[in-house]
């Protein structure tokens, strides 16, 4: 062929032409703009509309936020500063409310000389949770994680040190029973005893023991009642306690719902559906109005504890449905494989089924946790002073009467940071645990 052409074509190039840069419309920023913003008429219009929206928002908000006043003692003082600096009636934010009421927004009415305790508790919590979140950290740290609930409780509420210690001793007793009584009374008896003995101990022995030790050797720090908790500290305490308690309960409920045992199955179904069918706010009102009806006459316990219990039950029911989805998504062969290895129910769940099912349900679990943390704001309706409750209280004072946006923006930003961090962590975890080879 080429020989034919050699005679018919007047000119044949015999050297390569030097490589040239791509045309300007096909490279760099222009190419990116053409492809991503102006690929068609519709896209161009959309881009222009979006640009206008962004311009409108920025032009209205940016100056207001950036030129905000940070140093004033009240809204009227803030306005005086504004008039002096920017002229009469300029529209600028008054961030001074945050600096003025920072302690209150963070700690509520916690005694100010004891602020180091919640701060230390937060640091210790981060240390305790780190080995759970990142498995590259030394496993020895998990011992501190196990002890941390008692340490955190002691730091936040204070009081005598013997209460948390006596409760923690219950776990040691349970372990000791399991370790030393099992050879004597057999496996099943050992397990039952390991549950029953600590429960009896917690019900009947903890109070007297802690009381006696507290009288004999009074070690402790100042007691702070739950009524003084408020602000983001309250949201964190309720949220974190709810998250940690609801996960195991939710998994148990999901297993119950998948169970072949009729009674357990039906009980789980009814529990989950009833809890999920009714809004959290109704449950919170139930906790604050009705709980006394269901308890023996004369018992009365902390409103905050009731809220934590209600929030835990509520999010456990949602978690149960998420985990059930994960359990149902596992191929049948995994269950059968576990059975054929001769594992019993709990072994197969612990070693084979749950690790996979929980991995599948990570996104759902974390979004339930995010929902729980956001729902902590609802406690304002039963009289606890969460950030939103405090913003109402701050607005009710004469100093800051009429201030809205600054507080809302600050509270919203704090929640956004926490929730967004949680969702980013879950995406990271998902990527890390992904085992399919794509």
């Amino acid at each position: 062929m080429s020989e034919v052409h050699a005679q018919t074509v007047a000119y044949v190039r015999d050297t390569m032409i030097p490589q040239e840069a791509p045309p300007p419309t096909e490279a760099g920023a222009i190419k990116w703009l053409r492809e991503n913003l102006f690929s068609s008429w519709l896209n161009a219009i959309l881009t222009v509309v979006s640009l206008y929206v962004i311009y409108w928002v920025v032009s209205h908000v940016a100056g207001w936020m950036l030129f905000g006043i940070w140093d004033a003692g009240s809204l009227s003082e803030c306005r005086e500063v504004r008039d002096a600096t920017y002229g009469e009636g300029a529209s600028v934010a008054c961030w001074a409310v945050l600096t003025d009421r920072w302690d209150q927004l963070m700690f509520g009415f916690y005694p100010s000389e004891l602020y180091w305790r919640p701060v230390l508790a937060l640091v210790l919590f981060l240390v305790a949770i780190a080995p759970v979140l990142y498995d590259s950290l030394p496993r020895k740290m998990l011992w501190f994680t196990a002890a941390s609930p008692f340490v955190l409780f002691f730091l936040l509420w204070g009081g005598t040190i013997w209460g948390p210690l006596a409760v923690a001793a219950g776990f040691a007793i349970g372990w000791a029973v399991l370790r030393f009584a099992t050879p004597v009374i057999g496996d099943l008896g050992g397990i039952v005893a390991a549950f029953v003995v600590p429960i009896l101990y917690w019900f009947f022995a903890v109070g007297p023991i802690a009381g006696a030790l507290g009288n004999a050797i009074p070690i402790g720090i100042e007691f702070v009642p739950s009524d003084d908790f408020g602000g983001f500290m309250l949201a964190f305490v309720i949220g974190i306690a709810g998250i940690i308690l609801s996960l195991p309960l939710g998994i148990l409920l999901a297993l119950g719902r998948q169970s072949d045992l009729f009674i357990i199955n039906k009980f789980s179904v009814i529990f989950i559906e009833v809890i999920r069918g009714v809004p959290l706010i109704v449950w919170l009102f139930t906790a604050s109005l009705l709980l006394n009806y269901f308890l023996p006459p004369g018992t009365n316990f902390d409103l905050m504890l009731r809220v934590i219990i209600m929030v835990t039950l509520f999010s456990a029911a949602y978690l149960a449905e998420v985990v059930r989805g994960g359990l149902a998504a596992l191929p049948r062969g995994q269950y059968e494989g576990a059975d054929s290895l001769g594992l019993d129910y709990w072994q197969s769940m612990r070693l084979i089924i749950l690790p996979q099912a929980l991995k599948i349900s990570i996104p759902g679990i974390v979004s339930t946790f995010i929902g729980l943390f956001k729902d902590t704001t609802l406690v304002v309706f039963i009289g606890l002073l969460d950030p939103i409750g405090l913003s109402n209280a701050i607005r009710a004072t004469t100093d800051w009467n009429g201030i809205y946006w600054e507080l809302f923006i600050f509270i919203g930003l704090c929640f956004f940071v926490c929730c967004y961090a949680m969702s980013q962590y879950s995406q990271w975890l998902e990527r890390k645990l992904r085992t399919d080879h794509r």
Partner: protein
Amino acid sequence: MATITDPPSEGFRLSQLIYDTRYRSLTIQVVASIFIMLGIAFLFMNVVTNLQALGKDFDFGFLGNRAGYDINQRLIEYSNNSTHGRAAMVGILNTLLVAFLGCIVATVLGIFAGVMRLSKNWLVAKLMAVYVEGFRNIPLLLWILVIFAVMTESAPQPRDFRGEDASASMILFDSVAVTNRGIFVPAPIWGPNSGILVAVFLLSLVAIWAFRRYAHKRQEETGEILPVFWISLGLFFVPSILAYFVLGQPVSLRYPELAGFNFEGGIQLRNSLIALWFALSLYTGAFIAEIVRAGILAISKGQTEAAYALGLRPNRTMSLVILPQALRVIIPPLISQYLNLTKNSSLAIAVGYMDVRSTLGGITINQTGRELEGMLLLGCFYLATSLIISGAMNVYNNSVKLKER
């Protein structure tokens, strides 16, 4: 050689109840049911003793008593002489109203944001991501309060509309007034013969449905495609408009007018309703956007490519191949979002919207002191709503389930 070995025919021993898997489940269930019953009996006995100690009884008779409080927004006739039962009914209708309005707007917003977030336009996709993440990560309660504050603090007062040099003006051809007391929209006045107009409109809807069925059947049989969209559009508008003029314009609008210190004559959408409605819609819309996005992404690219290979155009690919499959993924979580929206409407308490929690679960309880009965009824209402909706969802799920062998 196959031999059937009989199980050893020893007698039943008590230890089999624990160690034999055939009987162990029975033991566990008996023990569990004993514990559950003991727990229920414990709670029940406590309620009985506590009620006795307080001198109360368990009686729903209070629902027939005079309520004695006013409800500022009502869909059915109600005055403070009506009964508590009637007040609860008004509350239930208000809950359903805001849930219904919220579901519609949330769906529209959610589909829009979900599709836009998949757009090839970088800027639009990022804007929608900001919207979705912003609303998903900030508590709903805060959004309700923010929108309520925008309405009450930033909207003009009715008196700003007064005079020649008014600082505020009505929008949409002087028909809608946005004030800090709520949004005033025109109210329809149903004149004589308006029933016929409504009937014509409903008939035209039936006609559209029938025509679509016919067109579908005809396409199945002959392969001929009728211009369904344009004929439907015509059927939707033409008969109603014709009837409207033939009957002599039976329905007219009454525009809100400034009278005294407030607007009169239109329908007042109170700030509480607006704030709750918009906040619920925006919040749930963000969740629906993610559901829609996930649904579209769940359809593998091969489906689109196969449809193109068959020669289908992009819009028909979307409507005939992608959407029917995506809807199977989208609908169940969508309905559970509707349920969430309905339950979240109980946050009406933040802005004083008179939903069922505020009437039955709020003022009625405070006035009669019937916490137990009131909360029970309230819980049953929400429970019944969600069970009915999730029951309907199960029926739907079964009908669209992939028929596998």
